[in-house]
């Protein structure tokens, strides 16, 4: 029995924020109906769902996890690839799943299973690979920054990582649905597609997280990472995700320097981070991007 987070706290399917170029009214109506009721949300692949369940099972051990990975060659290959990346590898190369699980730990492997699933199932929109790849790297960098923000605040690091990783999971789903709308209703410009993603990604993401059975605070952070004050009682989780989101945007903007980060943004003040705290977080830029790239 957890602290309940009521989805009716407000995940409106209509845009909660005023975003960019307006959508044609008939497209908006159709899109909202699709996103609210009819769109098929992607399920986790069986192997990823098994990995997540095993990692939450007190009696499971690393051997059980290895057995699941052995039955899914693509997932196993991904885990080995990340284990051999510069973030995790020592001088000794990882050559077995047993070594990889031992090196990274079960919680990390669980996050990798989710990551691989997101990559394959959700972040796959033919014809828009550049746009979706940008969203993906943004999510990975947000996840890595969220860990560091949580560490600084002495909050839960693993939970922050997951919230960061999936905070924008609704974007590719909105994009896929908007492209279907464009086929049947009206041509949508790139700006209008961006408007649709900005407007609806939080609510769709929260629905997806609910379908996947992830924790309440994860759903709250995904639903309200642009307006964390609405995520009660999980405002702090949502604020960490929001700050990591801002840090990721800043870090991935070419040519931006520390002076370009909005250090007086409300979320920085709400998290009670002072100038020196933010300087330390901004200094992690290269490390965070390197670690995020290892997830690709």
């Amino acid at each position: 029995m957890g602290v309940s987070w009521d989805e009716n706290n407000g995940v409106p399917m209509s845009p909660s924020l005023d975003h960019g170029v307006a959508l044609p009214p008939e497209v908006r109506t159709w899109l909202e109906a699709q996103l609210e009721r009819e769109v098929d949300l992607p399920m986790l692949p069986e192997s990823a769902a098994r990995v997540v369940a095993l990692c939450d099972d007190d009696d499971a051990d690393a051997r059980d996890l290895e057995a699941v990975l052995e039955r899914d060659p693509s997932l196993a290959a991904y885990v080995l690839k990340v284990a051999n990346s510069s973030v995790y590898a020592s001088t000794e190369p990882i050559s077995s799943l047993q070594q990889a699980v031992s090196r990274m730990g079960m919680a990390t492997v669980r996050n990798l299973a989710l990551t691989a699933s997101l990559h394959g199932r959700v972040f796959d929109v033919p014809g828009h690979s550049k746009l979706v790849a940008d969203v993906w790297i943004h999510c990975a960098v947000t996840a890595m920054f969220a860990r560091e923000v949580a560490r600084k605040l002495r909050r839960n690091v693993e939970a922050a990582f997951l919230c960061g990783l999936i905070h924008d999971v609704g974007r590719p789903i909105v994009l896929q649905t908007a492209l279907r709308a464009a086929r049947t209703h009206a041509t949508l410009t790139q700006e209008q597609l961006a408007t649709a993603m900005d407007a609806y990604h939080e609510s769709v993401g929260a629905r997806l997280v609910g379908v996947w059975g992830l924790a309440d605070w994860t759903a709250a952070a995904v639903a309200h990472h642009h307006e964390p004050d609405r995520a009660a009682p999980y405002e702090t989780e949502a604020r960490i995700t929001r700050l990591a989101d801002l840090l990721a945007h800043w870090a991935l903007t070419p040519g931006s320097g520390p002076e370009d980060f909005p250090v007086t943004d409300a979320v920085v003040i709400d998290l009670n981070l002072y100038a020196e705290d933010m300087e330390e977080l901004l200094d992690l830029r290269e490390h965070v991007i390197l670690a995020a790239e290892a997830l690709q």
Binding site: V3, A159, Y274
Partner: protein, 470 residues
């Protein structure tokens, strides 16, 4: 009001709004002074409310409630916790508890017209302080008197890599999402034992490791032995006399390497090896404040630092580092600064340890009493002798009364549920200089745990009578 520098000016400036700072500010305001209270957190209460006493005791209450319920249900109910139980579920009341306490503290500050600034302070001199606000603005303030009550934070030893993910401190352990299957606790002091016993009560496999020969080594050995038995019954282990060589996360578990060889493996590790004073960034040298060799602010008997107009109180001046003592220190510091009558700190300050079971103590222990008074008798009451303890289903406990050979009460030590409440009866008796007769001749409610006083007093009185007869 501003001074010649254009600084804001107050009669009293208090740095930190924890128990010591809050009380100091209220005391100064009640004396008619203009008071500024500066805290790095937006809400009043300091670490006590945000990360320390209030959150940990809320979690402890849930654990103790479950342990008590198990004892009372006598297997009628299956009260095993689900694997990977959410810690957040056990702390669901925390938001309400913390909110209520913050509202109470804030209302008291407002009622006394105390000005509050949210920011980090740095001394420019003994009279001037710069405050950096979270919005990156800075303000400067001067004051006739300053009280430093900036508290403490967990110590991070060099050989323990606290990453707040696998190796936690007493702050970050409260953000655990799920109960770990196993936990190594480094240390054997109050914080280590409080967390070790509460996680053991929740079914976590806990191993406490320390160089000390026993947990809570500063306490009456009989109470320590009683605690150890209760902790071991709950499944906890204590590895005595083991120094920590190093700690590492090997990718699967946290491995604690012991100096004498051997290792302890666990899912999570809690580093509870003391706390250090929060003085980083304060630039105490600029104010002429002297530090002790252990890194605390040095004060005299009146809580005045080496700078004549600056006082310090609470955890920042070191032991006993109890919230209750801090409140008293904050009040006394301000009264001395303002030239108001100050009582010497009461001789009889109780200590409460929120382990499962609770431990409380006031006055002298047996050895101290014999050394100071040439002899003593010890009267004991075990909870199993008390009807109320049986009704509560909590018969694991004991009260020890220490009396001089003239029958005067010299100390009391209790272990068991409600021990931290029970000890105040003895505190009042000590302050009043009462003898064992006061407990024997007066009527206590029945059934209550306070009846333990009569039982223990009768036991001690019987020993005194035997001595006289001999």
């Amino acid at each position: 009001m501003t001074n010649d520098h254009g600084d804001a000016h107050f009669d009293v400036l208090v740095l930190g709004s924890g128990p010591a700072g809050h009380k100091a500010a209220v005391q100064a305001a009640k004396a008619g002074k203009r008071v500024l209270l500066v805290d790095r957190e937006a809400t009043a209460g300091g670490e006590c409310v945000q990360r320390g006493t209030i959150p940990s005791k809320t979690l402890r209450e849930s654990a103790a409630y479950l342990a008590g319920l198990r004892a009372r249900s006598e297997d009628m109910l299956d009260l095993a916790l689900p694997p990977q139980m959410k810690v957040a579920s056990l702390m669901r009341r925390l938001r309400d508890v913390r909110g209520a306490h913050e509202r109470y503290l804030s209302a008291q500050l407002s009622r006394n017209h105390i000005t509050r600034w949210h920011g980090k302070a740095r001394f420019l001199s003994s009279e001037r302080v710069e405050v950096s606000m979270p919005d990156r603005t800075k303000r400067t303030v001067s004051a006739e008197f300053v009280v430093v009550a900036t508290g403490s934070r967990p110590r991070k030893p060099d050989n323990v890599p606290v990453d707040h993910e696998h190796v936690l401190d007493s702050d970050s352990i409260l953000s655990l999402i799920y109960l770990p299957a196993s936990l190594t606790v480094l240390g054997s002091g109050v914080i280590a034992c409080e967390f070790a016993s509460l996680f053991a009560a929740l079914g976590v496999r806990v191993t406490m490791v320390d160089a000390s020969p026993r947990p809570l080594a500063f306490l009456d050995p009989e109470l320590t032995a009683h605690f150890s038995k209760a902790y071991e019954r709950a499944g906890g282990k204590f590895l005595a006399g083991n120094k920590i060589e190093s700690v590492e996360w090997d990718g699967r578990e946290v491995v604690t390497h012991l100096a004498g060889g051997g290792e302890v493996r666990s899912e999570k590790c809690l580093c509870a090896q003391g706390r250090i004073a929060n003085v980083a960034g304060l630039d105490v040298q600029a104010a002429g404040i002297t530090m002790t060799t252990r890194g605390h602010i040095q004060v005299d008997a009146n809580l005045r630092t080496s700078a004549a107009n600056i006082y310090a109180a609470g955890d920042v001046i070191g032991p006993p580092a109890l919230a209750a003592t801090a409140i008293d220190q904050g009040r006394r510091a301000v009264r001395h600064a303002l030239g108001l009558a100050t009582s010497v700190q009461g001789e009889f300050v109780p200590s409460g340890i929120y382990t499962i079971p609770e431990i409380a103590s006031v006055g002298l222990d047996e050895a101290q009493a014999i050394a100071a008074h040439g002899g003593a008798v010890v009267g004991r009451a075990r909870y199993e002798e008390l009807a109320r303890a049986h009704i509560n289903g909590q018969t694991d406990g004991m009260l020890k009364l220490i009396a001089g050979l003239d029958g005067r009460l010299l100390g009391a030590h209790a272990i068991g549920e409600h021990a931290t409440e029970l000890v105040h009866v003895a505190q009042m008796a000590l302050i009043g200089g009462l003898t064992l007769d006061a407990f024997v001749d007066n009527v206590f409610n029945f059934p209550t745990l306070a009846e333990a006083y009569r039982v223990a007093a009768l036991d001690a009185a019987a020993q005194l009578a035997q001595r006289v007869a001999a």
